[in-house]
Amino acid sequence: MAVPVAFFAVFFAYPVAAIVQRGLKADGAWQFGRIADVVAQPDIRHVLWFTTWQALASTALTLLVALPGAYVFARLDFPGRQVLRAVVTVPFVLPTVVVGTAFLALVGRGGLLDELWGVRLDTTVWAILLAHVFFNYAVVVRTVGGLWAQLDPRQEEAARMLGASPLSAWRKVTLPALAPALAAAALMVFLFTFTSFGVVQILGGPTFSTIEVEIYRQTSEIFDLSTAAVLTVVQFLAVGAILAVHAWTVRRREAALKLVDASVTARRPRGAGQRAVLAGVLATVAVLLLLPLAVLVQRSLGAPGFGYYRALTNADGGTFLVAPIDAIGASLSYAVAATAIAVVIGGLAAAALTRRDAGRIVRGFDALLMLPLGVSAVTVGFGFLIALDKPPLDLRQSWILVPLAQALVGAPFVVRTMLPVLRAVDVRLREAAAVLGASPWRVWREVDLPMVRRALLIAAGFAFAVSLGEFGATVFIARPDNPTLPVAVARLLARPGDLNYGQAMALSTILMVVCAVALLVLERLRTDRTGEF
């Protein structure tokens, strides 16, 4: 417990507090009056209002679109299911800077919708909502579908036998069992869309702004640190509330459900109804998820003979001090380091949270660990700069800063994956081992480790994929001599010219493939009950 607490205190709470203090403290006195002033401004109120309603709308739309997907991936067995399940997760871990550009090709001018029906959604709120569905589809499929796959189908069949219609059997038997997972998924999607940054910045145009985007503008462009600090506090409170509710639903979800092995619940589709649902889901996935990704690939192949890919090995472009291709190596090594940190921190936290004597405060820490997902990267980045600048913690020029920042984002996923598995370990086993004289370390090694090894691997894999795609915090601290893939893509996109644009697309494609491969490996590992992601 002490390690994760210290880690989050030093690398998250302290930097964020430092930057908030910088904005809200003048001449040694706190200016809490600023909070009321800022919130009273019509522009800011508009931002708060837009943030909330677009998050609600995005969450509803995502559930609507992704629930049939959760059903299909959980209950139907069809060729390519594992690959497709991995692929729909790719958007979730891709940097928005890449996807925003590709997504415009779907809903922007000349995009598929435009060519088919003359519908263009760029700079409308629809583009934002659809992109949020694109990014968060996997959250619903994995959270809800994961549980759905393990519900004993015989319960629903029994209800049918007793004369219930399929719909009412589903409504009365399956839905209540799914409800906690549904609530958890909805809250996660709400959290991610509430704090949405890249999507809104790229697709929203200048008229739409979330709190997160506004914090970025106030800090980075206007340099109004006090307004940024107020917004950080407001967002912090909102996210804290969301997470508190989330932690509550998660605990309820772990209330006993009769679960079976996921591998026995999926069947080949039978009947016209199931085939229609399958076809509908596949079509949705193809149009909404695969198409934007395909656009990236297509644009990366725009030069004859893989010209853009070959150009990646050339260091003379001037954009970097190294060849863009080297960003792959840098990204991979950062991600490995970040994964190691995230697994240690997240694993220790999860272990502490499962202990039976874990009190209310420790359990509250569960929600706290998720906070980095909801606090703006610009706040953390600027916080790092002004807080970690004195020995012994002058880290601003150290390479470790990038994996540290990425681990902040990766650790919550590790906790979420490990926690349900650890909680499922029968306490009596541990107690029996202890009674027989095993040391706590030996209990962990002999009892817990064998049971959680697979979950640990999956957690590590997910942390790895998230670290690879992490952009917000990295862009603040990545060093010029070794930019990560997303940073390299952003820099290439920021320069005119065919080669730069093409190389950005080629690098994005490579990033996408690496993420997809990592996730595919996870799919192979996933045969048991493994939490939310």
């Binding site: 390690v3 002058d394 010029p480 010219g497």
Partner: protein
């Protein structure tokens, strides 16, 4: 009990390891043999040129790129008591007052400054900053579109509100993008403090489209750029740089004979970029040497094809690609940094409610 001790020991070890990394990092910058440059993402220089400086001066150059220009300046101001480096490059005339008012730089009169054009020396009395390069923010046009439609491309601010150019221009949000701000300042310089709002009303009535950043405007909306052609951009006029046409040539394989885009020379606003010695720099001697190097002919002649800007030193040769495809504007709009600082926030605010709402 045991676990607690293990955890505490691990934390201790972790912090020691981490602080060891940290202190080795800061040692590198206190080292008098290293000069650390803090700049924005657009910083670029040929390896050979940097190597030549390192060889001749005995310093090792370390570069920290710190986000886009505005972000880099803000970060430098936030960290000025304990700066990340010795020299900051990349504050332009639109942000200069913010940097100077916050005491970001210490005075240093660079060797060779007499070779720099007087028009670029905006801090001539105190020498807190040294001009390094300039560039023009101008409307670019898609040559093919105007040829296909047998239409003369616009040349001036006045032209842009004419009916034949309705719905053709895309620009950037002045609140979030530096070319967007430059274009707004250019219009304010052209039509005066009271006239620019009327101009933008007409521009809005003529169908100007505003997007958030340059990447989108140029790579998605503009029909003339390589990215924009692939994205099927539909707007043949975009606010970009005078150096964008040569970039379209240089970054194309094979290189076309002429640039696919041109510049409306009467719509330009001049951006001058400066470097300065950071107030609490550890290696002031090295920092001074590096600033001298930035206005040396060798660096100034290397700069255009790396950063797509023009040299400020008299007699520096500009590469042929520049003279051929993108000469700087002859009469760009300009504005004193003090005036920009005084009006910028207010103008951006009224621009936002005028154009975006």
């Amino acid at each position: 009990m045991h676990t607690k001790w293990i955890a505490a020991a691990a934390t201790g070890l972790g912090l020691v390891a981490v602080s060891a990394c940290g202190s080795s990092g800061s040692q590198a910058s206190t080292d008098s043999k290293t000069v650390t440059l803090v700049s924005h993402d657009s910083w670029a220089a040929s390896k050979g040129v940097i190597a030549a400086f390192e060889k001749q001066s005995g310093y090792t150059v370390k570069v920290l790129k710190d986000g886009d220009a505005g972000q880099a300046v803000n970060k430098a101001i936030l960290t000025k008591d304990n700066p990340q480096g010795d020299v900051f490059f990349g504050v332009d005339n639109t942000l200069l007052s913010r940097a100077l008012d916050n005491g970001l730089f210490q005075p240093y009169r660079a060797g060779g400054l007499d070779q720099v054009g007087a028009a670029y020396q905006l801090d001539r009395d105190k020498h807190r900053v040294t001009p390094i390069d300039y560039g023009d923010i101008c409307v670019n046009y898609d040559k093919k579109y105007f040829a296909d439609h047998k239409l003369t491309p616009p040349a001036s601010f006045d032209d842009l509100v004419k009916p034949q150019y309705k719905n053709l221009l895309v620009t950037e949000n002045a609140a979030t993008s530096s070319p967007g701000l430059g274009f707004l300042l250019g219009s304010a310089a052209q039509y005066g403090d009271n006239g620019w709002q009327g101009y933008w009303k007409k521009l809005k009535a003529n169908g100007v489209k505003v997007v958030d950043g340059w990447e989108q405007a140029y790579n998605e909306e503009f029909s003339g750029s390589a990215g924009g052609r692939k994205a099927k951009g539909t707007r043949p006029l975009v606010v970009s740089y005078a150096s964008s046409p040569p970039a379209e040539v240089v970054f194309a394989d094979p290189r076309p004979k002429t640039a696919p885009t041109g510049v409306a020379t009467g719509t330009c606003f001049r951006q001058i970029e400066f470097a300065g010695l950071l107030s609490n720099a550890r290696n002031t001697k090295g920092g001074k040497a590096f600033i001298d190097f930035l206005i040396s002919k060798r660096f100034q002649e290397d700069m255009p094809l790396n950063m797509f800007v023009y040299p400020v030193v008299k007699g520096a040769t500009v590469p042929a690609e520049f003279t051929q495809y993108g000469p700087p504007a002859e009469h760009p709009e300009t504005m004193a940094p003090g005036k920009i600082a005084d009006n910028r926030d207010q103008w951006v605010k009224s621009w936002t409610s005028l154009v975006l709402k």
